[in-house]
Symmetry: C2
Subunit: 162 residues, 2 copies
Amino acid sequence: MILKSQVEWALHCCAILSGLPEGRYLSTKALAELHGLPKEYLSKALQSLSQAGLVDTTLGPSGGYRLAKSPGQVTFLDIVEAVEGETRTFVCNNIRTNNPCLPDDYCYSGPCAVARIMWEADEAWREKLRSVTLSDLERMLVRETPAKLWKDTFAWVLGRAG
Amino acid sequence: MILKSQVEWALHCCAILSGLPEGRYLSTKALAELHGLPKEYLSKALQSLSQAGLVDTTLGPSGGYRLAKSPGQVTFLDIVEAVEGETRTFVCNNIRTNNPCLPDDYCYSGPCAVARIMWEADEAWREKLRSVTLSDLERMLVRETPAKLWKDTFAWVLGRAG
DNA sequence: ATATTAAGGATAAATAATATCCCTATTATA
DNA sequence: TATAATAGGGATATTATTTATCCTTAATAT
């Protein structure tokens, strides 16, 4: 059970968009080059972000993506769910209903204990992701990235941003 | 990103094994029938539990599986990891190293902020699963299963347990 | 001896993830 | 107004993973 790599891509792309000055857009092409990713497939991940309302887009030369909200308002969970979907990691197939001892007319009400416990763990995961925003990420990245590299990267980005 | 259905199967099978009297074994065949599962494939899940040391096995007629520890000593995490493996849900491919602004000689030390955050969420998930044991599950199941059904089920099981 | 079991190897089928290609409508800019 | 660059999205291909099935082997209770 592994998240799609598009989740990683989307998170890193959002980190860059967080640092973009107000009103500027960055294209799929630039984001793909910056991260060494296949442009066409990265595009699908960015489309997911767009459909989820996390980014705004504009067409034409100098078009691309920008955050639709302030970095402090976009959580990791928003991004993960936009790309990965909102389905829980544990799917209950209700195999208890196959029990040969079960009366024909019996009907379980509510999910079984196994599912409830697994879903609580899912919720703990979500809750953690909900507690971290893009501004938290930005703060961590600024602290751990050499100043020159950070500066060079955004110079590179701004040279390509519409 | 969805857990294999073998995880669900293993959890339900362990719930049954938890209720088995000391020293008795239950076969794959019985567990498969009880849950309406393909015997050969369920067998792979049970083998995983065996390899992880969660269950004991014995061969021959009246052979099968029993818990290797008391239900209070087996956590959901033990079972999930036995079947699903211990890999984290988020895999970091270190795409930051593709940054064209990165000096050739530069070498990142340690995982990036994105990975650290995602791994914290993974750890929250694990921590929740680690906090629930098979005896917790048994308590919940006893409470929510009609007494007659519970009784009939274990009569059925004991009629097949070696 | 015989029937039954777990273990595990080999292989097949179905599903999901990872791409690639191409067409359309939009838009900045020359 | 023409041109080039862009996002959106449909169709399709490739690869990996999940879900099985089948078969052989060694152990064991009866």
